[in-house]
């Protein structure tokens, strides 16, 4: 009996949801996840599929707002890029923006595996308005495959805050479930 209760608790997706996180399913119902409760979310259609954006707090300078972006890449859309190529593009180095990335690692999500890595870059933000300050940015990136389709999950923040968001990213990924 005790063993059954433990197994049921572990199987429930929201078993470890705490007050600061809440479950979320977008209108397209392509996935479900848990995101910080005070982050605002909306979904939009994209040329490659669809995207859900979770907007979190901004950095102390007010120049960049942290957030999680989940992009669904539909293999049936024109201009489809396979997951492997997408990862190479995302891990590209760029001297202009001092962009660099870490090696790819595997991360268990539900019954599958995600490929995760981190990206650093430096950009002037805001790009079109004065004063525009060079800010170091950090991105946690995960690519979750679902057949030929795949999801790109990215948590972006100012580099000075990214350590604080590591736990948020891990929890978000662990709660991520692709549907359909």
């Amino acid at each position: 009996m005790k063993l059954l209760a433990i197994l049921l608790a572990l199987a429930a997706p929201g078993a470890w949801a705490q007050d600061d996180f809440k479950g979320y399913v977008p209108p397209s119902e392509r996935f479900s996840c848990e995101a910080p409760a005070d982050w605002s979310a909306f979904e939009e259609e994209e040329p490659s599929g669809s995207a859900v954006h979770f907007l979190g707090p901004e950095d102390p300078s007010g120049a960049y707002r942290a957030g999680i972006d989940v992009h669904f890449v539909d293999s049936g859309r024109p201009g489809y890029v396979p997951a492997k190529t997408a990862i190479e593009n995302l891990r590209r180095s760029e001297k202009l923006s001092q962009r660099q990335s870490t090696p790819v690692k595997r991360f268990a999500i539900g019954k599958g595996l995600a490929r995760i890595f981190e990206v650093w870059e430096k950009r002037s933000v805001p790009g079109e308005r004065s004063p525009s300050v060079a800010v170091a940015l950090h991105h946690f990136v995960a690519v979750v495959e679902s057949g030929e389709d795949y999801f790109v999950v990215r948590l972006s923040s100012a580099e000075e805050q990214y350590v604080d968001f590591r736990k948020v990213f891990v929890r978000f990924l662990k709660s991520f479930r692709a549907k359909g």
């Binding site: 605002s40 909306f42 979904e43 939009e44 259609e45 994209e46 040329p47 490659s48 995207a51 954006h53 907007l55 901004e58 950095d59 300078s61 007010g62 120049a63 960049y64 707002r65 942290a66 957030g67 972006d69 992009h71 859309r77 024109p78 201009g79 593009n89 995302l90 590209r92 760029e94 202009l96 923006s97 870059e121 950009r123 002037s124 933000v125 805001p126 790009g127 079109e128 308005r129 004065s130 004063p131 525009s132 300050v133 060079a134 800010v135 790109v152 990215r154 972006s156």
Partner: protein
Amino acid sequence: MLRSRTLLLACLLAWPALSRADEPGARPYDINSHPLSNREFGLLFKSSYTVKEDGTVWAPAAGGPVLSAEMPYLVEKLVRGQRLKALLTLNLILSRSQGEKHLTDSEREAIRATVRENWYYLNYDTRKDFKSYFNRDELDAMNAEAPLPRAPLTPMTGAILDDHDSEPEAEEEDRPRAAPPEGPTSLAGEPLDPSPRKETPSPDAPEMPVLDLTRPSAAAPPVPAAPPLMTPLALVRQPAPPPAPAAQLAPVPPAQAPAKPSPAPSAAKPAAAAPVPAAPAPAAPLAGGGVGSIAGLPAGMSREEYERLFPTQPPAPAPAPAKPAPAPAPELKAHAKEELAPTALVASVTPEQFQKFLLDAPYSRQVRAVLKLVSDHAPSFARDRSLSLVMTALPNIVIDPARTGRGLRHGIEEAPGRPVSIVLSPGPVLYEKKGLFFSGAEVVLSQSPDAYRDLGLPMPGLEAMNRETSPAKTSASDWGETLRFDDGSSRGSFTPEQQAGTLLAALLSLDLARRGQAAEPFTAELYCRTAQMMLYSRMDRERGSDEFLDRETRASYRQWVQGPSEFRDHLLHTMSAGMDGTVDPSRAGPAASAAAVKTALSFCQGGAAQASSKRDDSRRLQAQALKSAGLIEGRALDEAVAYIERNPSAPGEGGPEACRRLERELSDLQRTPRVAEELRAAELRWRAGGTP
């Protein structure tokens, strides 16, 4: 016998004098029949010459009036004296200063005032030495008022050249030309070529056209052709009024031409006023030779001597043929002052139509070049929108760093009752605070005072902010041709190709706003920026390089090409941050926006107050960013914060007006999906086919 011989000899000796007494040159100069220009009048008065009622000119403490033959020399002497005085004044200011690179504000202003006042008298080299004290607009205005004359191109061949045989002069000015004022007519009643700019005549100055005696070898200034009226293409254009035909010179009467000294090679006499009137009365020859042919030679002067003193000018240009009115585009509707209905179809604009429009468009040459780049490279879905906006609404498009507001690359000025202005920036100011061990973050700044006035702050005291400061060195960098200054600041420059993308985005932004399709700021900005990136993509393919973009734009462009989802995310994360403040994260997305507007509708004033506080937050963050960059001290930051609290952003209209605005916004939000769909379709075509 001896007495008669003596008498005869005396008569022979006196005969030249007597004969000269009857010559026109020996008569007193009559200002009523041969008026001087206002400048020449001014010089005479400054030198205490007096003009009597009978038109004669008297030197101070002179026993007689100035003769006709002497007047050209007198004016020449006064002009040279004024030039010398100006140069001495400038030399005095510079010698008393700490050096040209360390001028105080008052010294700089004194130099500017002296140069501006005497621009007419300065030659080409001197103008070149001091032109760095003025900006482009000022230089254009000064050169328009006192253009340098052209050097004569061909020697006199002896053939009588007719006006109609000459080729029209190439158009030099790239500024829009104003219609020439209705000029005076000559005594013979023929219209005269008006000068490009006329000084305000003094009350005593005659209204007759002027005889410019200070141009011994100057060509007549090019006569601007009156441009056709600027009207929307759907309306019939009025044909351009034909320019006045060139004045005909009367043949030079014998024994009147003075022996005019040839001008110094370095002294380029500035051209002044209109050519000589074609009067039946004998006229003194134009110092500059004037237009048309000159028949006959002054008495007592050989042809070689005359050619040396009066080199032939190239004949005045034949009147430029009036440009035919362009065929009105049947697709375009004249919506110059009307609100465009949101569902109005976007008119298609062919390259030929736009090229024809550009010929007469009231834009500078630089702006026309940028518009041509837009026409040649914009993606089709954006091209028609942007160009039809230009052709129907005729927005003012200028390049002026002082008017872009917070915009680093462009600004938009809108005022009720006036056409909208799109102001492009020629380049940003860059600053990186140098520390002992570490450098601060680089900050990119606007050169517009409005960006700082809104924060209650003066413009940063950087040398790069002052366009009159001479740079320490110039070098190429990621921000284009960059001027570097001693205080560590620098000023970059945007290429015309980059400005074309910026202009395209600005035009689309205006068009979306006019059509009520900009209610959702993220979608609208994404639309404009995607079109901009597609334009850059075409240029990149043509040139094989994206080096024409500045650092940040290039980073954005490469991100758009290789990681389009990253491009969107980066845009959203920066637009929703407090410093930018364009996107409210609580109402990001069309659904959330609509819900927020509906809520605000029930509390009309409350919705506006919330928007105002977010704008004030943005202002505070901007001031903080300037402090972090080391551009202001802590005390200045405190004063800026206090200023923002005392002067909050306009909360918006209250009461019924606020409700109407929110209702409009709600209906505009319903058009957002259409814009997003149009963008998706265009980007899909690009991603699939590889070309926008």
